[in-house]
């Protein structure tokens, strides 16, 4: 046993170690995390199929089955549906993907391991932001391309509409990401995550004007949907892709951009507060 010998040499080496370099910055580490997050995402076939492929498959299916002009608007049902599907795609790559993956990472001790290193905690979230931005953009471009090439969707007709697309995209992505991070604390285990996260999302799609015309839904359901972001996201995307002749079919006979921005911003703020108060680095088993 060499307790005494080891203690004797420690003091010299121990002091030498105190002159360590500066700690890496949150942004630099965060971008590195973004890189490995994307790498892991693309390697995980399940996630790619589930998150990216599912909305694409649904869109192709629905747009192939249902079409026809709506009322006297001159707008094909497909265009309404594709707008809604792009909104769903944004929510899928941010809300579902984060809520499920973070719940799993909490369960398999990824978060616990990270919390035990000097990694700046903000870096973890910066990494998720990078992941969501890349996958969200990829998904949107994919759906847009399929819509334009196969189903006669028109790209936005003016600079103002492109601008709407950009702000609606980013605001939706932020609001849904924060909701997803907060939601990740709800499932009791990583395995249950998909089963807990997906049903409310699917339900929300039915009442938010993705599969059905929003104005055709019962008033009560419309009011419930208006509390959540997806209804405003689908409306925002319709305002990007559909002509103003469709306004007669909108519940409010207006695109309501102001109200839309307020609701989405409110979700950003509320989501952030919820994340800050509820985020846990440890699983339930860890107490």
């Amino acid at each position: 046993m060499s307790a005494t010998a080891a203690t004797a040499t420690t003091s010299t080496r121990g002091t030498g170690r105190k002159t360590q370099g500066p700690l890496p910055s949150a942004l630099r580490v965060g971008l590195r995390r973004g890189y490995i997050e994307i790498r892991q995402f693309l390697r995980e076939r399940d996630a790619v199929v589930f998150t990216l492929g599912f909305p694409v498959g649904l869109m192709i299916l629905f747009a192939s089955i249902f079409h026809g002009t709506i009322g006297h608007t001159g707008v094909d049902y497909r265009q309404v549906f594709i707008s809604g599907m792009i909104a769903s795609g944004i929510m899928s790559t941010s809300f579902s993907s984060l809520a499920i993956s973070i719940a799993q990472e909490r369960d398999d001790c990824t978060l616990k391991r990270l919390a035990g290193t000097p990694m700046p905690r903000a870096a973890y979230f910066i990494g998720k932001v990078v992941l969501v931005l890349v996958t969200g953009l990829l998904e949107t471009v994919l759906l847009l391309a399929i819509g334009v090439i196969f189903f006669g969707l028109d790209l936005p007709q003016s600079g103002a509409r492109w601008l709407t697309l950009i702000w609606v995209f980013f605001l939706s992505l932020i609001a849904c990401s924060l909701m997803g991070i907060a939601m990740s604390s709800v499932p009791r285990s990583g395995r249950a995550a998909a089963a807990v996260v997906q049903p409310p999302f699917i339900l929300l799609q039915f009442i938010s004007g993705v599969y059905f015309l929003f104005s055709a839904l019962p008033k009560g359901l419309q009011q419930v949907a208006a509390v959540f972001p997806l209804k405003w996201m689908t409306q925002g995307l319709r305002s990007v892709f559909l002509p103003d002749s469709f306004l007669g079919q909108e519940a409010a006979h207006s695109w309501e951009h102001g109200k839309m921005a307020v609701v989405l911003l409110a979700w950003c703020v509320g989501g952030l507060v919820l994340c800050l108060r509820t985020f846990r680095w440890k699983g339930r088993r860890d107490g």
Binding site: T4, P24, R28, R39, G116, P118
Partner: protein, 289 residues
């Protein structure tokens, strides 16, 4: 062997006084005192539910405490800073993260978290994963997975390394390799605190062993002296003319000399044994119950 008291704070990597932690009504740690000297290997032994993991997780800055004073590398682990975290290394139990990254990617990535990391390639060599460096972590066996955990734990050149049951699931050869790795780190002056269920492991690696039971340290000592093992009665047995004979003796050398004279040299079937660490440990745990 120096004893527990009389150390100045400077020589201690860890100092715990009157630590208390309860989960609801069940008390996990009660009134626990513990010192770990800089440069030593300390093993925490104890049955499941004794409070080992709770204690270690409080030291690692993972868990809050109800009361007591705790200093780890001169700071309170209840208020962990990034600079403090960069000086400790943690090897957790049962982590299954990053299934799709390769060993190399994982180690290189984690190196970015530390101000002065070891070379990722060197660390992979050190834990014996060189041949597996291109393998995805989900393809690793249980033992290889643990070695990756160790690699990530030592990457930042920690002054103090915590290992929670590090060799569970290792085959004997992997365990021996792991032991030499721990000795190597300890030779580089890394202070090591490990919990284990394997008494031979504690005996092999630890300068001192602390036995934990029911949330308290019941004894701290060198593996050779724990529980009065060194002064315990020795059992001498041999093949006598009328079959095997056994005698307990406090002075075995004298007895063997006498036997040797009686047999005129070699004593047939001679065996001399002191209680093993396991014997002593089980007695201590049993007595405490």
């Amino acid at each position: 062997m120096p004893n527990d008291n009389g150390n100045t704070g400077h020589d201690l990597a860890v100092s715990v006084r009157a630590l208390h932690k309860a989960y609801g009504k069940s008390v996990a740690v009660r009134d626990l005192d513990l010192d770990v000297r800089r440069g030593e290997v300390l093993a925490l032994l104890g049955p499941n539910g004794a409070g080992k993991t709770t204690t270690v997780e409080i030291l690692e800055g993972y868990r809050s405490r109800d009361s007591g004073t705790v200093q780890v590398l001169g700071a309170d682990p209840g208020k962990p800073t990034k600079a403090w975290r960069s000086r400790i290394g943690i090897v957790l139990q049962s982590v299954n993260d990053a299934a799709e990254l390769t060993v190399e990617e994982m180690v290189s990535h984690f190196a970015h978290y530390y101000p002065d990391p070891r070379d990722p390639g060197d660390v992979i060599d050190l834990v014996g994963l060189t041949e597996k460096r291109k393998a995805r972590t989900r393809q690793l066996s249980g033992g290889q997975r643990r070695r990756l955990d160790v690699a990530l734990g030592i990457l930042g050149r920690p002054e103090l390394l915590f290992l929670d049951e590090p060799t569970t699931g290792f085959d004997p050869e992997a365990r021996r390799q792991f032991w030499s790795l721990i000795r190597l780190l300890n030779d580089e002056d890394t202070t090591i605190v490990l919990t284990t269920h394997y008494l031979e492991e504690a005996e092999e690696l630890a300068d001192r062993v602390a036995v934990v039971n029911a949330g308290k340290i019941i004894e701290v000592g060198t593996p050779a002296r724990l529980g009065g093992r060194d002064s315990a009665v020795t059992i001498v047995s041999w093949d006598g003319p009328n079959g095997p004979e056994t005698e307990e003796s406090a002075a075995p050398t004298g007895l063997v000399t006498e036997l040797s004279q009686r047999f005129g040299g070699e004593v047939p079937g001679l065996q001399i044994s002191r209680p093993t660490l396991e014997d002593v440990y089980l007695r201590m745990i049993g007595a405490a119950r």
